[in-house]
Amino acid sequence: MAQDRAKNSTSGEKTLVRDISFCGVPENGSNASMVDVKDGKIIRIRPMHYDWKYDPQKDMNPWKFQVRGKTFEPSMKTLIPPYSIAYKKRIYSPARIRYPMMRVDWDPDGERNPQNRGKSKYKRISWDQALDIITSEMNRIKEKYGPTALLYQSDQHGENKVVQACHGAGRKLLRLWGGFTQQNRQPDSWEGWWWGSKHFWGCEPVGQGQQSNLLYDMSKNAELLLFWGCDQETTPWGWQGQLPSRLSYWWTELGIKQIYVCPDLNYAAAVHADRWIPVLPNTDAALYLAITYQWFTDGTYDKEYLDTHAVGVDEYKAYVMGDEDGVPKTPEWAAPITGVPARVIKALAKEWASKRTTVVIGNGGPGIRGPYATEAARLQNICLAMQGLGKPGINQAKMIEWGLFDKPDQYAQPKPLRVPYLRAAYTGGHPDETNHPSFIPKTYVPKAILEGECDWYGCESECADRKDQFVHYKYPAEGCSKIHAVWTDSPSWITCWNSGNDYVRAMQHPDIEFMWCQHPWLENDALLADIILPVNTKLEEDDIAGDIFSGQYNLLFPEHKCVEPLGESYSDYEIVCMLADRLGLLKEYTGGKTIPELIKYGWETSRCSDLISWEELNEKGYYVVPTADGWEEVPAGFYNFYKDPEKYPLTTPTGKLEFLATGLQKHFPKDLERPPVPKWVAKGISHEETIGTERSKKYPLLVCSNHPRWGVHSQHDDITWLREIPTCKIKGPDGYQYHPVWLHPSTAGERGIKDGDVVSIFNERGTVLGAAYITERIMPDVVYMDHGAKWDPIEPGVLDRGGAINTIVPRNTTSKNAVGHAVSGFLVEIEKTDLEAIKRKYPGAFERPFHPCAGPGLEACVMGGE
């Protein structure tokens, strides 16, 4: 095969190695792909073959797992997902922005019509006009309100780029310019672990369990894998590819039992599950409580381990057994809450206690991104602790982001000799950056703008330490301005964060005098901007990349442009350079380095420059980092802590596993929504989103919402080759491709809904249209709709045709003192849509043209079409 790849010539095609992944942070490159180009055209995109230019045995120090009489080896090619293969469709999408545009009814010298954001059309303007308006508005706002009146979002869901970074390339410029208000992303995929588990086991800064060498440990030692709200056939694709899939098949071959606990038969459960235990969304906390009740009752837990490794067990036990509140948390108590029969809870508790069990998570999946997610997180951790967390085969393993934030303890796969490091050459904003005093947690942006002031605890950055969760902050910060302008890049707010409809209303608020956006596609929040700047996709740019997360081999490679930039588009970095130039800050901004120099600087600072020369790197096109010798010896997960908790304490205040979180007890002793001892919280001052509450009489169905299967967050929703897959889109009678919403036949039958019907999913926060996908893959009384569908407002802030379910998720955060978002496990009702009636009410929206196979494009929003 290596021979074949190297030929690559009779056709006249040239092969370029590119990172086609979608996490948007420099450490997180992955999905290395081979792009064959000819005559300025992309012919094909395919998996990258490690052995193209290298001899595996000689150059790569291949790793393998040899356990239980069987062998697992990494694939000799990268295991990229379908949207990497299909990426040329994204480049030539009908929604590609090819030149600067301005909202037709926004006039910086007259009426600004903020209320029309999301409704108005756009007209083409020149780059000079666009840059003039932006810089003059920046200066005007700075003069009138001070620089903190500018909110820079800079942290959303875009392509992976390094030198041409698509998020936050403007942060450095704004610091030079005098300051700004930073939107701080919170850990949007692992909320419960971050806001909850850190108070149980520390594990800074991520909050999930220690991951080192766990793939090997699970293969060798685990007898039972509990995939809890984990879909490794969906969530990891855009970050790292499909090694988790191969491993899951192998674990089955090894005879390791796989149980999936989730409301939906997710894509992993559909092909790997030995048993599916359907649980009502966001009720996992009650299930864990009942399991520990059973263990306390039967004595089937590791009491000696808890004596030496944990604190607060008695307080926890008092709550579980009902000594505290008179309610024993029995399986019979949990059954109606969770929808899991008591006998199944008992059987699960018994099996878990009798087998070396690893709980497997996919970051959060839907299970950890709901109201009060801190409680389910800590209660799961407690279950692991009661069975001896850190013993071989007993850990919390994640199926995604192996190596997150460049942290060795996040490395679940065999350790490479070096981890390529591209942070020094990265021009964008990083999640670990703070911007004191003026910042707003992303979840609070609508509240800040709509209410004019707000306060909260924590979130000074996505990588902040547990103790930051006790620090009180407010908006506007002392001496700082309210927000009057918004700059966004690669935006995805509406379709990915909390209560997207509130965000729309916030952007329509009269306080927001100016909003500009830079993005390759006219989609989602870009539809709210007053000025839109066209950005390249990554295949139109030179850059440097690493493939870090694949779990197979680490790679470093310079990236060469595959095609010329479309229209008048530039990279985000180039655009910021243009702005810097107009503001007289270009030299300070670039530090005097050109883009080719930055790319080479990336190699110099990559930790690999002593392993491969710049010349050889360019000649071969990529470098495979060999596996480190002795990777097998790296202690797995919490093993060191298990062996010697005194020598290897946790970062909790006591150094132990805190069944009673001493930090929370000190700072928030009376918090009923995240109490010191974790609890089942059916409702509270922040949320009323469970069945049995008053609200559930009106909105009786629970929504389960995971990351999408056929895209990464807001990305890829316009790829025609994916949209024709039935679980991606469903064509309605009007020819529009609606986003599927999964309904159990019983749920659909009770409402007279038939397969393929256009339906309205609604609550008091708004309505989203979708198409009914009637299936046994979802339990009764639950609907599944993944996030990321492209927002296509019929009435902005009220009614969406595209299926952006996040427009109607809770506006409140995880809980009162935890400002995570809560985007799964919330109440709605659903009904068959009277399309004709809606069309009569909103004729304009339904007259907007759309591409029959790619969805809404530029022509819907541009004056005169295009």
Binding site: M1, Q3, D4, K7, T10, S11, I43, R44, I45, R46, P47, S75, K77, L79, I80, P81, P82, I85, A86, K88, E233, W237, G241, Q242, S245, R246, Y249, L265, Y267, A270, V271, A273, R275, W276, P278, P341, A342, R343, V344, K346, A347, L348, K350, E351, T720, W721, L722, R723, E724, I725, P726, T727, H744, T775, E776, R777, I778, M779, P780, C853
Partner: protein, 276 residues
């Protein structure tokens, strides 16, 4: 040295890489004389079919695959009056886009589903070519097999010993046909009957009960034992109606059926057993 494809449904995760890679190769790329461009949507020279089996909570998904079988005795080839369809020395069956006149007789002649498509714009019939244009450049894989992350697609030479080994245990999609296809399948879906047995009085899952399914027509018996959740899955059943016997010492024997597993897999749901 004939080319063959072996598709193992038991390790297909449904990622659709095969279907998408095929489009990446053939949409907007002209590989004449092997193939003209495929339309952007609606046609699938290799197609993934999503089969959802069972009912909550006994549900599984199998991803089936349709692709040209590249038959040794290809009905399409015989059916074409233009003689536009030919077989290469490596066994690959090609519809010559230059000779095809669009009479569509091959579509009718093909006994397999989702194989030959008609391109209205070009007025030609089109289908999988095993990426013959790439094989001719020295590739040893098709786009679909190269893109497959799990090894569900194996492409190679029929004389290769490793391939022979796989062929020996594989099945044909329609074994009753005399077409002699070059596509083989592993683990084609077989019907199952499942359920969960529990003791209602004790509210406990009943472990260790013997469950026997008897085919009403043939008398063929399949037996399994319930696990710690009281679950049983009687797998690899031939089509037919079955009676189910659930037995456990100390309990009354339960008899169910006949259950028809001809058209679909059956989840019998929660089944109560009573102490004797």
């Amino acid at each position: 040295m004939g080319k063959v494809m072996i598709i193992d449904l038991s390790i297909c995760n449904g990622c659709h890489n095969c279907q998408v890679a095929c489009k990446d190769e053939h949409v907007a790329n002209d590989w004449s004389p092997i193939a003209k461009p495929q339309p952007d949507t609606g046609q699938f020279w290799t197609k993934v079919i999503n089969l959802e089996l069972g009912t909550v909570p006994k549900v599984q998904v199998t991803y089936h695959h349709s692709i040209c079988q590249h038959c040794e005795d290809a009905p399409c080839l015989e059916a074409c009056p233009q003689k536009a369809i030919y077989r290469r020395t490596d066994g690959v069956v090609i519809i010559d886009p230059g000779r095809c006149r669009g009479n569509q007789l091959c579509l009718e002649a093909c006994p397999y589903e989702n194989v030959i498509y008609f391109n209205d714009d070009l007025n030609i019939a089109q289908k999988c070519t095993f990426c013959a244009h790439l094989l001719d450049q020295g590739w040893s894989e098709t786009r679909c097999s190269d893109a497959c992350p799990t090894g569900a697609f194996t492409f190679g030479d029929e004389d290769d010993p490793k391939i022979k080994e796989k062929i020996a245990v594989s099945e044909l999609l329609k074994p009753e046909l005399p077409t002699r296809p070059r596509v083989y399948y592993l683990n084609l879906p077989k019907k199952w009957i499942a359920g969960a047995v529990y003791d209602k009085e004790a509210d406990e899952c009943t472990e260790g009960a013997t469950v026997t399914a008897t085919n009403a027509a043939t008398g063929e018996k399949v037996t399994t034992t319930t696990d710690n959740y009281g679950d049983f899955w009687l797998k690899n059943l031939s089509d037919g109606a079955y009676t189910i016997l659930i037995e456990k010492p100390g309990y009354l024997t339960q008899k169910l059926g006949p259950i028809d597993a001809t058209s679909k897999d059956q989840n019998l749901g929660d089944i109560v057993v009573w102490k004797a």
